[in-house]
Symmetry: none
Subunit: 207 residues, 4 copies
DNA sequence: GATGAATGAGGATTCATTCAT
DNA sequence: AATGAATGAATCCTCATTCAT
């Protein structure tokens, strides 16, 4: 986002643009898909929003419209998981690790509503899409959560009566629903603010 | 093509047939949508699967394809909620009521995979659809769960530190994810069998 | 081509149209392809020329534009061969049979310039097309000519030093070129009028 | 990308390279057009096959794709006619001249299958192309053959009852068909080997 | 009520061509 | 001269919906 150019800006700008174009298209796709839904969005709308010609999209995304959607999801999940791992870094307490995972999810998606819409809603388009994505990206995410649980069970912090994979799915399900609900809500509340309550529920239950 | 009707049963039969046809169309829509996804399904495929002419669908569903989807969801949610209320009937213990809600959700959807697919996946087609549906049907469901929580908090069975609406969403989120995960899984396991673990997590948490 | 309608023309016309639609589309395709060339013709032009909607073409020709071209050729060749066989009927003299084949070819195509254009020019679009067509239709035609030659050689009318298949191809090549040349000519001469000279060349050669 | 040139040969090499590049593009075009057909070939494919950038083609052929096709035909016909004239050289006997023309046609095209494909098939793309080409190149070829006939009739070698132009077209048609048939054949026979039979047919006919 | 032939708007994608470097 | 990233016009085909029978 920071641009520094000293000499003949021409070259610098061009080079930057070239690199940038792919990002601009992806960002435009997020916004357009979020606004109209994937199936109701036209490639030409994405192109227009990105400030490129229709055909240019196919230079960067050979598979066209569908590839835009999957790329958005893949790249977002990848960067999300990286930042999550960073945050978990050298935190050892199992309870704290859960709290971090919860907060990170809600804050990250709470920061970019359009991205959240695409990730929550537009991706769930058909069994085909979901299968594709679950195979890798969602599986990666679930694994990360599952490992937190397993470690917590191993060091005696968490009870051992619950199946880690099932807990991981539950945590994901809760977070997913909180985001979806936030997206669909007409009121613009702070998503991240719910982190503590959610963590408390997960950790101590209703009783 | 030749129809002869003599007595008053004729009308009755006709009316019945009419009803029958409507159900056949809806059932066909569930199956076709589950197989290909809503956007990739053709009205003519639904018609064929239902054994009626394309145009006939518009006699029963004026708004066409979209109405098929919303009708499926509405009628399913309505009947689901009715049966849930019946099950909750005269059960008083808050914990038991949660267990019933969880089990009912997983068993009901676990019984009809195609319906589950449509409900979980195909309905999430765009913000537009989800908004429409959340407004009423999902809201009704969440309300039912929320009331269980509230009553549990009122009679001292559940802790009062958690916001009932937020807990309701969490429960819904967990159940939703369990179903989605089951749909996408290649292994055909018993969805209802997870009820106890899920209930335990919700009631007592991880710690 | 002759239409007789007595009573309420509405019904008659409609019925006629229904049956007719396929033919109208094919005829329109011949004319449009002849005017602009196959690759430069738009499906919508054919539809417009046929007086039907674009989509209607796909009701009658599932494979679209390409099927129009192949159908034109197939049906024309079929009907051409039938009429040729009829003409050869009970003519026995080999020389006379050759004369009939030559005259029939030139007169038939000389009668419908647009059809001739499509048959001569537009069909020869790519190896793919030509291979497809040669396999069956052209092969059938060549066989018919070859049999004339073989019978002539068998009854001693024709010399036996020439390979019948090669002669058949030569005859076809000559006729083909006469038609092509006629199509490309700016002068509108009578194609059939060349029959005698052509036959003489084939029968007696240059010497 | 770095070019170093020291002596005067540099320019020469450059000039040669320029020429070389033009030939490479034409040859690539013949091969690509033969493989996929003119309309289905992409300029970028030709560029790739020639080992040049897309834009480079427009440096040598201002009119682009279409000019590639016409240039191939023009240059081939020109060089073909030159070599034919050379072969006819000081041969005087009319019959022998016919034999040479036939043999030359079949052997020349029989030597370069891809060129033959483009000449026979790809050129016949639309009336527009054919008209353009017939005007000059085909006309030149027909004239050459016609002159052979006329001279043969003048010196009494050939009968005078046949119109020379019509005979010329016939000869061209036969040769054209022999080549087309050879191209489409799955068996790889020797095209030139048919020369004698063809000449015999032309000279002495069937009787 | 049923039918299904006909409609025609709508859009993803391709690819010849340009032009700044 | 050479490049190749970018352009955007052009078109085939699909399919939801209608309506005459």
């Amino acid at each position: 986002m920071v641009r520094r150019s000293v000499s003949s800006t021409a070259e610098g700008t061009e080079a930057f643009r070239g690199t940038d174009k792919r990002e601009r298209i992806l960002r435009a796709a997020v916004d357009v898909f979020a606004a109209n839904g994937y199936f109701n969005s036209k490639v030409s709308e994405v192109a227009k929003a990105a400030g490129v010609a229709d055909g240019t999209i196919y230079l960067y995304f050979k598979q066209g419209k569908e590839q835009l959607l999957t790329t958005i999801f893949q790249e977002h999940t990848r960067s999300y998981l990286e930042s999550l791992e960073r945050e978990l870094g050298n935190v050892d307490r199992a309870e704290e690790r859960i709290r971090i995972a919860v907060r990170h999810h809600l804050e990250t998606l709470g920061r970019d509503r359009n991205l959240a819409i695409v990730a929550q809603v537009e991706l769930r388009h058909s069994l085909k899409f979901m299968s594709l994505l679950s195979q890798q990206e969602v599986a990666d995410y679930l694994n990360t959560i599952r490992k937190i649980i397993e470690r917590g069970q191993a060091d005696g912090a968490f009870k051992r009566t619950l199946h880690p994979q099932l807990v991981a799915k539950s945590v994901f399900g809760i977070l997913d629903e909180m985001v979806t609900s936030w997206i669909l809500s007409e009121k613009a509340y702070d998503l991240g603010a719910q982190s503590d309550q959610i963590s408390e529920l997960i950790l101590t239950g209703l009783l």
